[in-house]
Amino acid sequence: MTDALHLSGLTKAFGDKRAVDNLDLTVRSGELYALLGPNGAGKTTTLRMVAGLLAPTSGAISVFGVDAVKDPAAAKQIIAWAPDEPMLYDRLSPMEYLEFVAGLWGVDGKTARKRAEELLKWLDLWDERAQRCEGFSRGMKQKTALAGALIHDPKLLMLDEPLTGLDAAMARQVKDVLQERVRQGGTVILTTHILEVAERMADRIGIIQHGRLLAEGSLEDLRAQGGGGSATLEDLFLRLTGQAAIA
């Protein structure tokens, strides 16, 4: 099976500082992959390069076999990117926002309309479909942005801290949506600081620091790499990133 995402020697330098340093990473099709790392580890920069928002300094990005550096439009067509701050327009309603996003991804009007209705109902936003986003809570904004990310039925969904600032009910709803997405055969990559989420939801976990991959695999794999035992992901994370002493 083709890998959903394959990064090879990916590097991004800002002046002398390397935010991402020769990163090799593979995400398999149909899995939920959690990318963990301390602040400034290079998680967001990596995902922004995959989304086409940043040009890599060197290295290769392949999305379902499409070279995202040489043919970014083809790669973007099958990717969705949802940053931690929802990319919304305050004066548009969720329905209008979805219309706009669907147009950007070239989804035909009839299909987009049907899909928008499904998504808004699925995410409990149907009653608010005609209200402007400016007064929405953070959770509602996150859900609207998530609906926008799903409107073109992407093969690869990338989310940066999707659960930040959400209450328990909203967070549960978003987690359900992501798991359902994976059950339907989609691929999801998410970054999170909530290690329990990664521990419970992710098929595989990658831990990066200073732009390099420190460890990767299922929780069992990471335990094995971290010296075995029944350590929690938090213990492993702190041990691997050398923050145990600080904690």
Binding site: K76, L88, E96, G103, L104, K110, Q131, R132, C133
Partner: protein
């Protein structure tokens, strides 16, 4: 960093220079008036009373509109009110101070303006006229109190969001109506009778006509010249009224401010909830930009102001079209094309530079060229809608000139729009008034291009083939401002 600071400083320097020029002008006028008053003296005649009352009414109206905007802002944008109201200080005292701050801020401009004029007059001829400053202060207190009463009433009736909207629109309308009233003599001139600017006043100066004033109409004028009893009365009434309103509204305002937090400013439904989706990046972007433009209240009030300011021009345009005036009609056509360029420049700044979600556009597979084209058209459509009415009216009388004007308007709007696209820098919609991120060279180029196209329109509407010269110069200047997609992207990345 240094360059940015210098750019910021340039704006401040320009403001300081403008203020210095204004101050010099006021002082010079004050010196002239001072010597005049020393020679001829002054007295409170019925004509002076009318002049003072009208001036007071004008200033009072502007002060009320300023208070409306500021009070609505305090309620809606919160500022530090939450922190203050959560402190152990009594809300009444906090709000009294806040209200006094509003009163002071709406009065300050007039005090400075009048102070510059009155200081030399007081030194040279009549120190008693410094009482004008106290009258202005009294006006500020009453206007602020009325503005606060209106804001609270509007808040009760239509909610905080609409109050803010209405306050902004009212401010624009009041400002524009004052401007239009000053243009009335120009508009009416040439339609029989003596409608020259001050001609109608002549009979009152010569004593041919007599003014019957209602009782106490001279109170403000007498206070302004420093008569103690009227002055004390005006001050006492205004201060009493302000304190009464502050006391009455203090608690009410605190409750309203608290409810504004949970009032959910955006629980406003968009009208369109059904129907087919726009297909394709161009149509979707165009739809989105037009919706955002139509829903931008700050932009709406700004454009409303410009349109209202255009009314006298449009009136002259249509009147001359009907009269077949050979010189004024091409001049008005030129002015219209310059205005079209300026409007398009404003709209394109909003659609291009003030994009709320630039990452969304970059992350999409849609071509940037398509998105940018849609944004340009989104700027051109409202511009066309605004200039269409006077153009159509002229078309009835002088179809050829209307056609030339339309071409000029389109060329000017398009050229100014593309220059904004080529020199886009990320900005915020709320920065629309200042557009501080616009390079002065770009602003100058836009002015030059619209001016040259205006010149070409004038010559073409006059039937002169020389129109080709400014048209070519405008094209050259536009092309000189052109930048490649790579250059635009580099600038956007640097700014980010």
């Amino acid at each position: 960093m240094l360059l940015r600071e210098m750019q910021r400083q340039k704006g401040r320097t320009a403001q300081i220079i403008a203020l210095a020029v204004l101050a010099c002008g006021l002082v010079a006028a004050g010196v002239g008036l001072g010597f005049l008053i020393r020679e001829v003296g002054y007295e409170v005649t019925p004509l002076v009373v009318v002049a003072v009352d009208l001036a007071a009414l004008l200033i009072f109206t502007i002060m009320v509109s300023s208070t409306l905007a500021r009070a609505a802002q305090v309620l809606y944008l919160r500022d530090d009110l939450d922190l203050l109201l959560s402190s152990p200080l009594p809300p009444g005292r906090i709000l009294a101070v806040r209200f006094a701050g509003i009163a002071f801020s709406v009065t300050l401009f007039w005090l400075v303006l009048a102070g510059g004029l009155l200081a030399p007059i007081a030194v040279i001829a009549a120190p008693a006229l410094l009482a004008v400053l106290l009258v202005l202060l009294a006006l500020g207190l009453v206007a602020s109190a009325v503005g606060l009463l209106l804001t609270t009433l509007l808040f009760r009736l239509i909610g905080p969001r609409r109050t803010r909207t209405l306050a902004q629109v009212l401010s624009a309308l009041i400002g524009a109506s004052i401007f239009l009233s000053t243009q009335l003599p120009n508009i009416l001139r040439g339609h029989g009778g003596d409608y020259s600017r001050w001609g109608w006043l002549r009979p009152y100066f010569t004593g041919e006509a007599h003014l019957d004033l209602p009782p106490h109409a001279d109170l403000l004028a007498r206070a302004a010249v420093g008569q103690p009893v009227p002055l004390l009365l005006v001050l006492a009434v205004s201060l009493g009224f302000f304190m009464l309103v502050t006391q009455l509204l203090g608690r009410q305002f605190a409750r309203d401010a608290a409810s504004a937090v949970g009032s959910d400013p955006a629980r406003k439904a968009s009208r369109r909830t059904a129907g087919a989706f726009a297909a394709g990046a161009f149509a979707a972007t165009l739809c989105k930009e037009l919706r955002l433009l139509m829903r931008d209240i700050a932009l709406f009030s700004q454009v409303l102001l410009r349109v209202l300011y255009m009314l006298p021009l449009a009136f002259v345009f249509v009147r001359n079209a009907g009269a077949g005036d050979s010189m004024l009609l091409p001049a008005a056509a030129a002015a219209m094309s310059v205005m079209a360029g300026q409007l398009s420049s404003s709209f394109s700044w909003i659609t291009v530079s003030a994009e709320d979600a630039p990452d969304l556009l970059v992350a999409s597979p849609a071509s940037m060229a398509v998105i940018t084209r849609a944004k340009l058209w989104a700027a051109l459509i409202p511009t066309a809608a605004l200039v269409a009415i006077p153009l159509l009216a002229v078309g009835v009388f002088a179809p050829l000139i209307a056609l030339v004007s339309a071409v000029g308007c389109f060329a000017s709007a398009w050229a100014c729009g593309v220059v904004n696209i080529w020199h886009q820098r990320p900005g915020r919609r709320s920065d629309f008034r200042r557009r501080g991120n616009v390079n002065w060279l770009v602003a100058l180029a836009i002015l030059g291009i619209s001016g040259l196209i205006g010149g070409a329109t004038f010559l073409a509407a006059s039937g002169m083939t020389w129109a080709i010269v400014p048209a070519v110069l405008a094209a050259v200047l536009t092309l000189a401002m052109r930048r490649s997609d790579q250059q635009i992207l580099r600038t956007l990345r640097d700014e980010a």
